[in-house]
Amino acid sequence: MRRVLAVGVAAALALTACGRDAGDSGETAEAVGAGKATGEVTVWAMGTEGEKLAEFAKGFTAENPDAKVTVTAVPWDSAQQKISSAIAARQTPDVSMIGTTLQGEFAKTGALDPTPAGLFAQDSFFPGAWDTTVVDGTSYGVPWYVETRGIYYRTDLAAKAGFPHGPKTWDDLSAMAAAMRSKAGAKWGISLQPGKTGSWQSILPFGWSNGAQIATADGYTFDTPQLAEALRYYQSFFTGKLAPTDLPQGALEPAFVRGEIGAFMSGPWHVGILNEQGGKDFASKYTVAPMPSKQSSTSFIGGSNIAVFKDANNRDAAWKFLAWLSKPDVQVRWYQTVADLPAVRSAWSDPALSGDPILQVFGEQLKSAKAPPAFPTWSQVAAAFDVQAEKVCVAGADPAAALKAVQNQASSIGTGS
């Protein structure tokens, strides 16, 4: 039902967007005035960020006594509907947090304000994160926080399997998963997402690692030998019975704690879940390895951007608030408040982050991590990819044929720009 509605909203949005000054390429931004921010800035933020930001933003008010930040928390699950409806009815706040993969869709409605030149240093952010703000050559908003994926593995089982230092290459990962079953007594060597919503986030890193490009400026390019090889490699974990195809939701963590699953691929948030479920000694039993490399070790970069709307009542203060959020010391404090990983690179040299070995793995991975193209149609194409991925992983469909099918759908959907 929600999916149907989302499509409905998107369609209505497409209709209303025609009547607006939709973002042409090469849009230029007005400059932001000097001096301190004044007035009220209204902000929408999702989940925990929405819960904690109001209190946190008092730091901004301390530096700009005449400015005030009012935060409305929005549920993650339905943020897309809320923001797209608000854009259609011109009821947007000044500022909103925007999930990286929705950036293209929202920027294309023409409702986002282009990032003013000179306010932010592009190279102070992780390049993959900055790329997610850029649609048709114009940047809308800035990265706020980031996340990426690595391989979580049980150090005790990996040692028994003959990989005490974790997997380094594609071959290592396959061999380790197999040996965890045969030598270390695990029921499954690894857990990888077998298709379904969001599985592209697990599969595309293998493609990037193999030198695949999933898009050029002209459109999507899924039907390549590099991506086919990566998908065939991904499939081999399922056909080789090294990874389960029907793990119930929520079953991964307990099984990993019991040692029935030797490894899995996920992002930084899993550290908290594992320590919560495994008890206090469990932290010493696992660690995280960077994505295994073929040509390179390349992961997916996700997280959230934060952007200003064109209809903002207080544009000047809104951009100043974003500039404040992007300061390295503020990014470190935000990490300490909600555990969001900083999008600003220099924040990572702070001892709060550099002292944690697992975070260091993610931090290293972020330097080269990639994001899908910020085309407005990305979420539609990703859904088509996920369907084909499931056929490959669960039903054993031919990877190359599946990618051809994805490419056909992607070509008919188009880039939307």
């Binding site: 949005l13 819960e51 999930g99 948030w269």
Partner: protein, 271 residues
């Protein structure tokens, strides 16, 4: 007890188990710590009892505010539906006026239009009227609905015309007939309509999510979704505790109206 009766009870008990089972699990699990909720195989009776989920819920949400919002909206919407749907239903069932058939067809037609199609235009309309982020904006679009009108008309058809004629002969005006004669006879249908609208309004998620642009106008379902599902993980404890809290008022309404509700469904022949 005869054998057949025993068998009947066995089948009924099984059905009850299937229907009530998940509900009981939800209730019990809302008292479990997060790790136990996620445990595979799942447990029924909590090994460790905790009120942590509820404490979390009530301390992180401005609960009285959201509860009040939900109650205000649901009560107004229900009252509006009872009034307007019975008025229109009465007109369609018992009054003779030009265009009655066309009006009834229009109502039926509206029943066929899925809510999602009108969702965004409706929101644009409400915000152009300056009602975004107001109680009026939350309530107005739901004050009457084609389903309620249809339900009331079908029920009113079953009331004998003679009764209305008799009242008319006795000198009662149309208002008086409606209030004093017709409405009291409609109690079962009104109870049915009342509970269905209350439920729909109480559970409504998308409209309040979109119309409320600041969180002081959120209703309970929207508020509960705030922190229970993150970008990458769900907090099941919060989710279950929230579900219990949302369900309780609905249960009370249902139990209070249950007797009428059952009769209403039986006599209107609607399901």
């Amino acid at each position: 007890m005869t054998r057949a009766k025993l068998l009947l009870y066995a089948v009924l008990a099984l059905g009850l188990l299937v229907v009530v089972g998940p509900f009981v699990w939800m209730l019990l699990s809302s008292f479990k710590p997060e790790a136990e909720i996620r445990a595979v195989p799942p447990t029924w009776w909590p090994h460790t009892w905790t009120l942590g989920n509820y404490r979390d819920l009530f301390s992180r949400l401005d609960f009285p505010q959201y509860f009040a919002n939900s109650a205000i909206v649901a009560v107004l919407v229900t009252a509006g539906n009872l009034l307007f749907c019975s008025l229109l239903g009465y007109a369609l069932a018992k009054l003779d006026f030009p265009g009655r058939k066309a009006l009834f067809l229009a109502v039926l037609g509206m029943l066929m239009v899925p809510g999602m199609v009108t969702f965004v235009p409706q929101f644009v309309l409400i915000s152009n009227m300056g009602l975004a982020n107001s109680y009026a904006g939350l309530v107005l679009p739901f004050l009457a609905g084609p389903f309620g009108v249809f339900l009331m008309r079908q029920f009113l058809l079953s009331i004998p015309d003679d009764l209305i004629e008799a009242a008319r002969v006795d000198g009662a005006g149309e208002w008086r007939i409606f209030w004093r004669v017709v409405l009291p006879l409609c109690k079962p249908a009104l109870a049915t309509l009342g509970i269905l609208t209350f439920l729909a309004s109480w559970n409504n998620f998308l409209w309040p999510l979109v119309v409320a642009t600041t969180d002081d106008k959120y209703t309970l379902p929207v508020a509960l979704a705030l922190y229970s599902i993150g970008q990458n993980r769900a907090y099941y404890g919060l989710l279950l505790a929230g579900a219990v809290v949302v369900v309780v008022p609905v249960l009370i309404v249902f139990l209070a109206l249950q007797r009428h509700f059952m009769r209403g469904i039986a006599t209107t022949g609607l399901k």
